[in-house]
Amino acid sequence: MSRVDERSPLPGADFEEAAAVSRLRRVSVRKVTGRLVLNAVLALVCAAWTLPTVGLLVTSFRDPDMVSRSGWWSAARDPKGLSLDNYRTVLAGQDWSYVDASGETVRLRGENMLGAFGNSLAVTIPSVLIPILVAAFAAYGFAWLKFPGRKMLFVGIVALLAVPLQIALIPILRDYQKAGLNGSFLGVWLAHTGFGLPLATYLFYNYISTLPRSILESAFIDGASHYTCFTRLILPLAMPALASFAIFQFLWVWNDLLVALVFLSGAGRTMEVLTQRLLALAGSRGQDWHLLTAGAFVSMLLPLAVFFGLQKHFVRGLLAGSVKG
């Protein structure tokens, strides 16, 4: 469908001019319809992308009885059936009963998501801050200090970037069993630190090594040590890079299931994080959509807030290569 013939108008003649005008009009009409179709298709795609989440959100407010009898899209027909009850049940985990379709009273023991929320926080905050601290020190060392084997060691870190964490599960689990670290917060923090460090060190190095050397030299003339230089000067300057990585590591750790399953399960159910608790909820009572949906939304609350609040940094991080191997 080439339109090459249309682009070599012969000069002169009125006829030619009229033809050119009508052709222009035709092109612009096609352009407008094309634009309309494009916008419509994109809107449709966006709707399809958003509907599953909307369904979850609507269901989480619906009466359990209604959830099993009609689709969430019919919720608008009965706005009185919407309440925060599911959230109350899921957060507090209180006993709770209802009369089912056959007239029997059913009692349920709700899963307590609040404790899991606390555990998720206790796992995530140090698992974000510790690797940032460790990687920032290392990046400074690689960028500004001279020591034997410096390049070799950094090449090693680059090689580790894509190593899958599956490789570490069995040996580390055995070390943990020997050292009594299995099922402890410390064990999970260290694991997340280890798995996040290559990327963090690499990103921070890329950032810190581009800072002008003159900043450091003037600081040294003033008698500052490397340590003061690092904590007072470089850390604040490297904040954009640290923030980008922090968002990633936060989402990664908060949403992680595998590491929690492997290294936290040893402690029984008291230390379960949100993903584990949600999975238990789905497994034990997979048909209790009202609780499952409310629970899922509780687990998504913080990441979504971070996502909407810090989207710009998030995107910047993505473009800097913040994707873990």
Partner: protein
């Protein structure tokens, strides 16, 4: 340690006064940190307070270690300091990475030649099992499907949406909506999609969106999650839903980087918009497409959460990572679990090699 060049000649007393604390301080700091750990571990503090205490203790502890290590090295005279200081900075990071990633590759390789409890040498038995077992064969095939369709669909839809959004009137909103699932965990996404795929016997009210659509169109409801071999494809859809946002954002940035004159020139030459996209836009963002594809490919190789949360590997949806987990925790067979881990590692080695080559090419490291 005669090399201290400080002017004061106060003798051995001062030297001991300097060096002894330098060695004592890290030991004391470590002991204090370990005591804090034991306190939590033994359940002396419990409940929500324990979690908060642990978090503060962990972060402050890590910072304290650096502070103390630096303080100690500073006391050791300039010559020793110059030698030791770099290792205060890079040492902890190297130790952690060596323990958690470098050493495990060798250790896992070794374990893969041993039996279930890692006591008796098993030769290549585990690998023989991995390549002949029926479930493992399904896992390989499924992982291949994940690799091809998961990567293909994510990149293609990401590219299509990025191109459309670039020419639409609501670019920011569209991109935000498609990007949003990136914040959702695989487990959370599993719950969302369980609900989309929900199945009720024919005649009952369908509460799942997909079956409601199917029955409204006059069809019979389908149990999507159980229907082999298509169920793997339905699980892949969840992955695509989550990962398209990533592809879209990176490719969208690449599209913005293509000079407008280039596209305009093609348009003036009379190329249709489709042609402009195909012959000008896509070739100029090809490097970004390759990056996105390899990154997504790595993810599909390690996919675990979606399968574990949706089917637990039932109905023929097993993949390598879920098989590894099962070998570890269900069958307690560390040998086979290790062999599967090694296979995943071998599958990503081209990426490791690529990273190293890119790094050497840049020569950023002086």
């Amino acid at each position: 340690m005669k090399g201290k060049s400080e002017g004061r000649t106060s003798g051995r007393g001062a030297w001991i006064g300097r060096v002894v604390p330098a060695f004592l301080a890290p030991v004391l700091a470590l002991a204090a940190l370990w005591a804090g750990f034991a306190l939590i571990k033994e359940g002396w503090i419990s409940g929500g307070f324990a979690a908060a205490f642990a978090a503060v203790w962990g972060v402050v502890g890590a910072a304290l270690l650096y502070f103390v290590a630096n303080w100690s090295v500073e006391r050791l005279g300039p010559k020793v300091r110059a030698k030791a200081l770099p290792f205060v900075f890079v040492g902890p990071a190297l130790l952690v990475m060596a323990w958690y990633l470098a050493a495990p590759t060798v250790r896992t390789l070794a374990l893969s030649f041993f039996d279930a409890s890692s006591r008796g040498f098993a030769g290549l038995d585990n690998y023989a099992y991995v390549f002949t077992d029926r479930t493992m064969r399904i896992a390989f095939l499924n992982n291949l499907a994940w690799l091809v369709f998961g990567t293909g669909f994510s990149v293609l839809s990401g590219l299509a949406i990025a191109i459309m959004a670039d020419r639409s009137r609501f670019e920011r909103v569209a991109k935000s909506l498609v990007f949003l699932p990136m914040a959702i965990s695989f487990v959370g996404a599993g719950v969302i999609w369980r609900f989309v795929y929900a199945y009720r016997p024919e005649g009952d009210a369908q509460v799942g969106l997909l079956n409601a659509l199917v029955t409204a169109a006059g069809g019979a409801p389908v149990n999507w999650i159980v229907e082999r071999p298509w169920n793997t494809l339905f699980l892949i859809v969840i992955f695509v839903w989550l990962q398209t946002g990533f592809a879209m954002v990176v490719l969208s940035a690449a599209i913005k980087g293509v000079p407008g004159e280039l596209l305009e020139a093609a348009r003036i030459d009379g190329a249709s918009e489709l042609r402009v996209v195909r012959s000008v836009l896509i070739p100029s963002i090809l490097p970004s497409i390759v990056t996105v594809a390899t990154t997504t490919l790595l993810l599909t190789l390690k996919v675990f959460d979606i399968v574990y949360a949706m089917t637990n590997g039932l109905y023929g949806t097993e993949v390598l990572a879920s098989q590894q987990y099962k070998q570890m925790f269900k069958f307690l067979h560390y040998g086979r679990g290790s062999a599967i881990a090694i296979i995943i590692l071998v599958a990503v080695t081209p990426m490791i090699w690529y990273n190293l080559r890119q790094f050497n090419k840049r020569e950023a490291f002086s």
